[in-house]
């Protein structure tokens, strides 16, 4: 590896454009007339120094900003692609995706589905894009940060004439008393919060160097954030479980291994008043009731630790909360969110056994629709047996009675009624508003008396160990972003060369603002303002 030794004696790594110490442009860079490429102070980076092995090539690839921008743009386009049709998670749960896309959107929908775009954001190639984005950010930052840091640390006050001449903002002026002018300039520079270094009567004023670290800090934040996102693919990092809980019920909180139980004491829902003075007009247009709030009055229990193996401790109440949307209940690392509800779910039904002829009744049975008993003994020889129970009755395609689910949305019973008069039993088929006698005319019937309903509350159980990492990443990202965006790194050199004063300025952004500042700094001296060489060139090209 051949290094480049500058006139001033400083040894620079190969690939360096400007000497890290005195700023003299090196090698062929010195011959040209163009402005200096001041990116990263013209330092050599690993990606330029080592270019032979496979690892070097990979490093070069990912450290390239061009490649980085392509990765960003491709990610952008891919993300947009996923919004053309709804993702699978947003289509109605009752339909099959293979039918849905074709039925809803025709041929293009079918294609969308077949290309896997209905699950685009969890596809392997989208993940790969995000991963390469992370790798690119990491490598590009390492590649640039260390040399940049070194160059800004080792820079000298006095710069080579060719360095000054080829800065974007540059000018020379002749003044009678240089020292006096410099004193004025120094005072004004201090006013503008520049820190000033002097060497042999030359000045460099610098401010906002810390802004140069902004991109690196924000990139670190991004990487931490992306790592946090990737951690979600490891089991156990987070919990996301849906649960239904009825009023009055207490059940175990899923994924807590039986340690926590939750009770729903009451579910409350409140609607907006349709005659509301403020909202009335909007509600009329919406044309229906609008929910104001709903909540579960929850009690949290923890199982006592008895210490003895095999014996379960009692449930002990440890907390109470009103869980509403936007107001989850938190305990341990868990959070319970209110997400949905179902009003008036059937809970129990009551029937009486009735003599069809006389209308005489023989005792009432109350059936718990979630846990019906198989026999209800009414005494004195009267007895009801439940032969079959379909909580959510439907006639299957082969015309066999069956149930859709265990939720009693349409309960149907096949009862067998035993009385002293009919000891062999009579069969009846009873549901909501149906009462059939499939085995022939009966003497007795089950008469519907009452039904009890309950509200059911839907909660989501959440635990997420990646959140702290995401928060830290996001926080660091924002700090770096603000640091790099709201401050600029500015340097102004004032140098005495051949009895003249040379002024050169450099900033990483916003040259106009830099020039305004220079104008202010020299305003009480006879120094003439340096010009923006890029602007000059543009004007010259035009005319």
């Amino acid at each position: 590896m051949s290094n480049l030794t500058c006139e001033c004696g400083h040894v620079n790594p190969r690939g360096t454009i400007v000497c890290e110490s005195c700023g003299k442009p090196l090698g062929t860079n010195d011959k040209q007339e163009k402005l200096l490429d001041m990116k990263y102070e013209g330092v050599a980076r690993r990606s330029q120094t080592y270019t032979t092995t496979f690892i070097d090539k990979v490093w070069m690839f990912f450290s390239s900003v061009k490649v980085g921008i392509w990765i960003i743009v491709i990610t952008l386009l891919a993300s947009a692609l996923g919004t053309i049709y709804p993702q699978e998670m947003y289509i109605p749960p009752s339909v099959r995706p293979e039918d849905y896309y074709a039925a809803e959107y025709g041929f293009t929908g079918q294609l969308y589905y077949q290309l896997g775009f209905h699950n685009l954001y969890s596809s392997w190639w989208y993940m790969l894009l995000i991963a390469s984005l992370g790798v690119s950010i990491l490598i590009a930052s390492i590649d640039r940060f260390f040399p940049l840091y070194r160059a800004l640390k080792t820079q000298r006050v006095t710069r080579h004439a060719n360095f000054l001449k080829r800065q974007r903002v540059f000018g020379t002026s002749e003044v009678k008393d240089i020292d006096e002018s410099f004193d004025v300039v120094k005072k004004k520079l201090k006013e503008k919060k520049y820190s000033i270094s002097e060497e042999n009567g030359n000045l460099v004023a610098e401010k906002g160097r810390f802004a140069r670290w902004g991109p690196y800090i924000n990139h670190i934040g991004l990487i931490i954030f992306l790592i946090g996102c990737m951690l979600r693919y490891f089991p156990g990092m987070y919990v996301d479980e849906h649960m239904w809980i009825r009023e009055g019920e207490t059940t175990v909180v899923p994924t807590t291994g039986g340690q926590y139980h939750i009770g729903n004491e009451e579910f409350i829902i409140e609607l907006y008043d349709e005659d509301d003075y403020v909202f009335g007009e909007a509600m009329q247009r919406a044309g229906g009731p609008i929910v104001r709030t709903y909540q579960t009055n929850a009690v949290l229990y923890e199982r006592e630790n008895t210490g003895a193996v095999g014996s379960e401790g009692d449930l002990v109440e440890i907390d109470r909360a009103e869980i509403r949307v936007n107001e989850p209940m938190k305990f341990d690392d868990f959070a319970l969110y209110q997400v949905d509800y179902k009003l008036h779910e059937l809970n129990s039904m009551s029937f009486v056994l009735e003599d069809k002829e006389t209308g005489e009744t023989f005792g009432q049975i109350d059936i718990d629709l979630f846990n019906p008993e198989s026999v209800y003994d009414l005494g004195e020889g009267y007895r009801i047996e439940i032969r079959e129970y379909f909580p959510d009755f439907v006639m299957s395609s082969s015309n066999v009675p069956s149930t859709r689910s265990q939720i009693p949305d349409n309960p149907v019973f096949i009862f067998e009624m035993f009385t002293p008069d009919t000891p062999e039993g009579e069969v009846s088929f009873v549901g909501i508003r149906t009462n059939l006698e499939p085995m022939g005319e009966n003497d007795f019937k089950m008469t519907f008396v009452d039904v009890e309903t309950k509200h059911v509350s839907a909660l989501i159980v959440r635990k997420d160990y990646t959140l702290p990492i995401l928060i830290i990443g996001g926080f660091i990202f924002m700090i770096g972003l603000v640091q790099g965006s709201y401050w600029a790194h500015r340097r102004i050199w004032f140098q005495r060369i051949d009895g003249k004063v040379w002024i050169a300025g450099h900033t990483n952004k916003n040259y106009l603002a830099l020039r305004k500042e220079i104008d202010y700094v020299i305003s009480d001296t006879s120094l003439s303002a340096p010009v923006d060489q890029v602007e000059e060139e543009e004007v010259n090209n035009k005319s």
């Binding site: 990116k39 900003v65 061009k66 980085g68 921008i69 960003i72 743009v73 990610t75 952008l76 993300s79 947009a80 996923g82 919004t83 993702q87 998670m89 947003y90 954001y121 996301d240 907006y272 509301d276 403020v278 909202f279 007009e281 909007a282 509600m283 247009r285 919406a286 609008i290 929910v291 104001r292 709030t293 709903y294 509403r324 949307v325 936007n326 989850p328 959070a335 969110y337 997400v339 989501i460 959440r462 959140l467 995401l470 996001g474 924002m478 972003l481 603000v482 965006s485 709201y486 990483n508 952004k509 916003n510 040259y511 106009l512 603002a513 923006d532 890029v534 602007e535 543009e538």
Partner: protein, 396 residues
């Protein structure tokens, strides 16, 4: 209170109009002499600046009174959000003007502010109740911050537009001139939409149709503009109104499509009338007004606006959005179209910053990117909200 609040907004609108006039005079009017007798331009630019501050103050008054009236921050439906975006562009202008004192920027920004506020006012403006998920302080913080960020990014768009009109060579027809004219046409279509909507609204125009909807059911649909495109198998129920020329298939929301056609059509008419009157491309007609603009300077203004707006947008549109989503929807990210388009906006401006900083995309390329960036923002607000409605849809 509701009336007071609307009046404040109306006043703000007119103050922005006055500011536009002041900035126009500052550029086209006579130059004044200062104490030393030198020509230094006139004071109208400063008046314009004061008026824009007054406009912002009146907007704040609108915002606060409406907040008090409804009990929640007025950023929860299309009307409220759009007007707030207009207000935010006004704020952003005040900030950027304070740094760069560019009257040209005022001349272009003030009309855009008015346009966006007027556009917002086309949506139903009554105070709507909030469903439970929207009743969160984080939602308000998220939306307000996002709008301010977008407002500042919009200044980048305006400066980019000025750059393009200032520098593009209009003597030939090529990709640049055509694209720029297209941008101006898009703005005119927005004007057209507002004009058509206001005119027919003032006439209380309404046409009802019975039609067959996408589920094969009979339904009714109301048009507030004359129907060029009627709904699927639509039968006019209102008498004495125009009957449609064609009928849309059932899967298309026909009255929305009709509105879009009217906007594009009236924009088209406006564009060609202007072009006929001016006898040249609209950009070419504006160009002479901008001859005093330094391209370097507007280029820097546009970049500065984006550099200021990007962190604020990121904070509001992604970070606060995630905090709210975590609390309200139990997960910080759900790949909902609105979220995805916020991410796209973020990625787009990130690409812009890298192209500019590391690939030296200054001047024209950079200006085009600013225009596209703002188009993405508007797309997210309008199209994604109204058409690909997800969780965040404001349309009640």
């Amino acid at each position: 209170m509701a009336a007071i609040s609307s009046n404040f907004l109306l006043f703000a609108f007119f103050v922005y109009l006055l500011a536009t006039i002041a900035f126009t005079v500052s550029i086209t009017g006579k130059k004044w002499r200062d104490k030393q007798g030198e020509m230094t331009g006139n004071r109208w630019g400063f008046f314009g600046f004061l008026l824009s501050i007054l406009g912002s103050l009146l907007s704040i008054a609108y915002f606060i009174t409406r907040w008090i009236h409804s009990g929640h921050a007025p950023v929860s439906n299309m009307f409220e959000y759009m007007t707030f975006l207009g207000i935010a562009i006004g704020f952003a202008f005040v900030i950027i003007y304070a740094i760069y004192r560019s009257n040209y920027l005022g001349l272009f920004t003030m009309p855009i502010v008015m346009l966006i506020i007027a556009y917002g006012s086309m949506f139903p403006g009554e105070v709507a109740p909030l469903i439970p998920a929207l009743q969160s302080i984080w939602l308000k913080i998220h939306v307000i911050t996002t709008a301010i960020g977008q407002g500042i990014l919009a200044i980048g768009f305006v400066a980019g537009l000025i750059y393009l009109i200032r520098t593009i060579d209009f003597t030939e027809a090529n990709k640049q001139t055509r694209s720029l004219e297209f941008v101006l046409y898009a703005i005119l279509s927005l004007v057209g939409f507002i004009l058509m909507g206001s005119i027919f609204n003032a006439m209380n125009y309404e046409a009802n149709f019975a039609y067959i909807n996408e589920n094969g059911m009979e339904a009714e649909m109301t048009y507030t503009l004359p129907a060029l495109v009627g709904p699927n198998e639509g039968q006019l129920l209102t008498e004495g109104v125009m009957s449609p020329i064609v009928h849309a298939p059932a899967i298309i929301v026909a009255n929305d499509l009709n509105t879009v056609i009217w906007s594009l059509f009236s924009g088209f008419v406006l564009y060609w009338v202007l072009r006929f009157v001016l006898r040249k491309r609209i950009g070419a007609a504006i160009q002479p007004i901008l001859k005093g603009v330094s391209p370097q300077a507007v280029d820097e203004v546009s970049y500065r606006a984006i550099a200021i707006g990007f962190p604020i947008f990121t904070l509001g549109g992604l970070i606060f959005a995630m905090i709210w989503a975590q609390i309200a929807w139990t997960r910080f990210w759900g790949w909902d179209p609105k979220e995805v388009w916020a991410l796209i906006t973020f990625l787009f401006y990130a690409a812009y910053l890298h192209l500019r900083l590391s690939k030296g995309w200054h001047g024209e390329k950079s200006a085009w990117l600013c225009v596209i960036g703002f188009a993405i923002i508007m797309f997210n607000l309008v199209f994604v909200n109204l058409v690909i409605a997800g969780l965040h849809s404001y349309a009640l």
